[in-house]
Amino acid sequence: MKQIVASLLAVLVLAVSAPGMVSAQGGPLRIEITEGVIEPLPYAVPDFVAESAGAQQLAQQIARVVADDLTGTGLFREVPREAHISQISSFGSPVQFADWKAINAQALITGAVSSEGGRIVVKFRVWDVFAGTELGQGMQFAGTPDGWRRMAHKVADQVYSRITGESGYFDSRVVFVSESGPKDQRAKRLAVMDYDGANVQYLTGGNALVLAPRFSEDGQRVLYTSYETGMPRVHVLEVGTVQSRILQGQDGVMSFAPRFAPNGSTVVYSLTQGSNTDIWAMDIASGGTRQLTSAPSIETAPSYSPDGSQIVFESDRSGTQQLYVMPATGGEARRISFGQGRYSTPVWSPRGDMIAFTKQNAGRFHIGVMRTDGSEERLLTASFLDEGPTWAPNGRVIMFARETQGAQGASSLYTVDISGRNLKRVRTPEGASDPSWGPLQ
């Protein structure tokens, strides 16, 4: 009896719900999109408006630096000014979105520069053309005229951040080894520059060989290896005063490959005692050291994870150079690289999700990235000699050194997006190697 009642009810419900089923089909139209395109986002940046008599040139220059920064990422494509329909004659005037939509500019950057009393003020806004709204709020920077490039970088960082949702990297600096002279008599000096190769300034003279400079997290200090005493020793240099000193507490013969911990108070480095090289950590203030590895093999090139809890390093304990990860306090290490060839110079991404490395295989060098567990390895470059990757502060771009073949071969710096796109050279006045990207200022 119960079954009969249930069946009757089911029939009744089906009859009632039949129109509902139709509505479920024809209600919201549901579509899933799994394929898109990977291409630069078109944007327009007309010359900034000069709001005072002497600001015309600066207004143009700042707009150009902003455009160079954005286009240089490979994520944006500038719509040429010749194609602009509207002109921005006043910073406060309304934007004719239809004109910018017509030239397919998805983002529009307007700005103005004024100069008065030895100070300049740079204002800007970012517009979402197709939505017809402003992205974020307008912002302005004030400073002295000699800091105009930095202000332009800051504007570009803001634009980048508002469109991509991630922080930029334009207002940052890179410390590197500037090289001059032939290969057999090459002079090397520490130098610092803007991320795009501008404003190069030297930090050391050319009287001693210097290697592997590394910025601290705040960008105020640089660790590097110097042969000033005849043997490689780790030095720490204050960028503001260009004063350097040898780190204390080094009992070994050689110490090299230093790198700051994220807290800035600890340094991790390699120390060679006898024929064995291990990784050590040192407290900068007290000079106290602690051995983190104790294998009979060569352990070097340590790099902290952003949270400071782990260290990735290279070791030949398995017979060839491979990458390992261990706790920051030392202890058991797990191998994360298993591909063919030799892996070296691992660097943990500021995002914490990737590790960049140098790989040598089949007579060629590569810069590559992998997940922190060693999965999803991907080689981004290939050449006669690529080495020494360093991450942009937002973990999106890798800079490295590339040396050309032959007696006249020279080293220069390149950047590449972590997707493998947008490989390009960084212009430096001389040869350059061993880059270390500082933080966003």
């Binding site: 009810l9 509902g20 089923m21 509505s23 799994t34 194609a83 397919n104 307008g138 949702g165 300034q201």
Partner: protein
């Protein structure tokens, strides 16, 4: 009786007569071959038998006669005046001291003022100011990655979804005048990111199988028991899917009834659409139109986020901008979700043009859309 003897005798007789008179034993003399012979003397024979000696060669081959050429003195080469060689600068024995490193002066920190007054709202723009067709600039050589590879278009072709060859008005008008049209072609694209260290995949490892047809709903098992058949015939071969406990059936049925009632009532309350559903082709056309404008930044955190965006449309196929809303997301942090939503929103708005091509008679079916943007397959390109 003697017929055989007569035949044999006649045949032998004929044979003998043919041998005697047929010329079988005639001996004609063969023709003589005549050769001409000349008589020579002994001196002539000795002269013929002497070995021939090679002719003597001169020491040097005779010069070939040269054509007469008027001798003209060659023009002296024009010697450019060379500057006196400048001695290479000799590097001083003592290298100049490099400039001592100067303290790195910190670039003045710009002061930041966060807020600027709100800009005035733009005045309404007359429709005539915007051209109907976007004049897209020539793209830079940055490779574009799209679902389908597109070869490099002709340099004179404008970027447009369709391929259109140039149509020009001929001087002699034909019967059917063609409208002048600019050549258009889709933007060049590849299907995958190719790093410097990689070679593009030449071919898929396995061919893509065609999609199988959707399975028909399984018909209920045909009744195997007829009135005539015995009820107990092979009961183990036809196990009836009967639940073991009757009370659960009642519970399931009740919950199903409740759910169906709720669904039916909800549909009735929202004024659900009616009419024929969109065909697969119509839905695919809509999807492809949006995906062509969905720009995925594969290196960003937003590439890990799947977002579902809801929006309403008017009868012309245009999106009601104010109705765009984030319905849900999966993976990634808040900032990444917002970035993924903005990218999806831009894709929906940018590719609508004058409205998506959807059948107006089925407006009820597409007036509200829920679109999910899943970049998972893009991350592995």
């Amino acid at each position: 009786m003697h017929t055989g003897h007569y035949i044999s005798g006649s045949a032998h007789g004929i044979l003998i007569l043919w041998a005697l008179f047929g010329g079988m034993f005639r001996s004609d003399p063969p023709e003589l071959q005549v050769a001409d012979v000349s008589v020579i003397s002994e001196a002539q024979f000795a002269a013929m038998m002497q070995p021939q000696t090679a002719p003597e060669l001169g020491a040097e081959p005779a010069a070939l006669p040269q054509p007469d050429i008027e001798e003209q003195p060659p023009e002296p080469p024009v010697v450019e005046e060379q500057p006196a060689p400048v001695p290479e600068p000799v590097a001083p024995e003592v290298a100049e001291p490099e400039p001592a490193p100067q303290p790195v002066l910190p670039t003045p920190e710009p002061e930041v003022v966060e807020t600027l007054p709100q800009p005035p709202a733009p005045e309404p723009v007359p429709d005539v100011e915007a051209p109907e067709v976007a004049l897209r600039p020539i793209p830079r050589p940055a490779p574009r990655v799209a679902p389908e590879a597109v070869p490099e278009p002709a340099p004179e072709a404008e970027v447009a979804p369709e391929v259109q060859e140039t149509v020009e008005q001929s001087e002699t008008p034909d019967v059917t005048d063609a409208e002048e049209q600019q050549a258009t072609a889709p933007e060049a694209a590849t299907t995958e990111i190719v790093t410097e260290a990689e070679e593009p995949a030449r071919a898929p490892a396995a061919s893509v199988r065609p999609q199988s047809r959707p399975n028909r709903p399984t018909p209920p098992p045909a009744p195997t028991q007829t009135a005539d058949a015995p009820a107990t015939s092979e009961p183990e071969r036809q196990p009836a899917p009967q639940p073991t406990q009757e009370p659960e059936t009642t519970t399931d049925t009740a919950s199903a009834i409740a759910g169906a009632l709720e669904e039916a009532l909800a549909g009735a309350s929202t004024g659900a659409a009616s009419g024929p559903p969109l065909t697969q082709g119509e839905t695919d056309g809509f999807r492809i139109a949006v995906q062509d404008c969905w720009v995925v930044d594969v290196g960003s955190q937003a590439a890990n986020v799947t977002v579902t965006v809801g929006f309403d449309m008017d009868r012309s196929g245009r999106v009601v901008s104010s109705s765009l809303r984030l319905l849900g997301s999966e993976g990634g942090s808040g900032t990444a979700v917002e970035t993924a939503f903005q990218a999806a929103r831009r894709a929906i708005l940018r590719c609508q043009g004058d409205g998506y091509s959807l059948p107006p008679e089925k407006f009820d079916q597409w007036k509200t859309v829920e679109m999910t943007f899943n970049p998972e397959s893009m991350r592995i390109r």
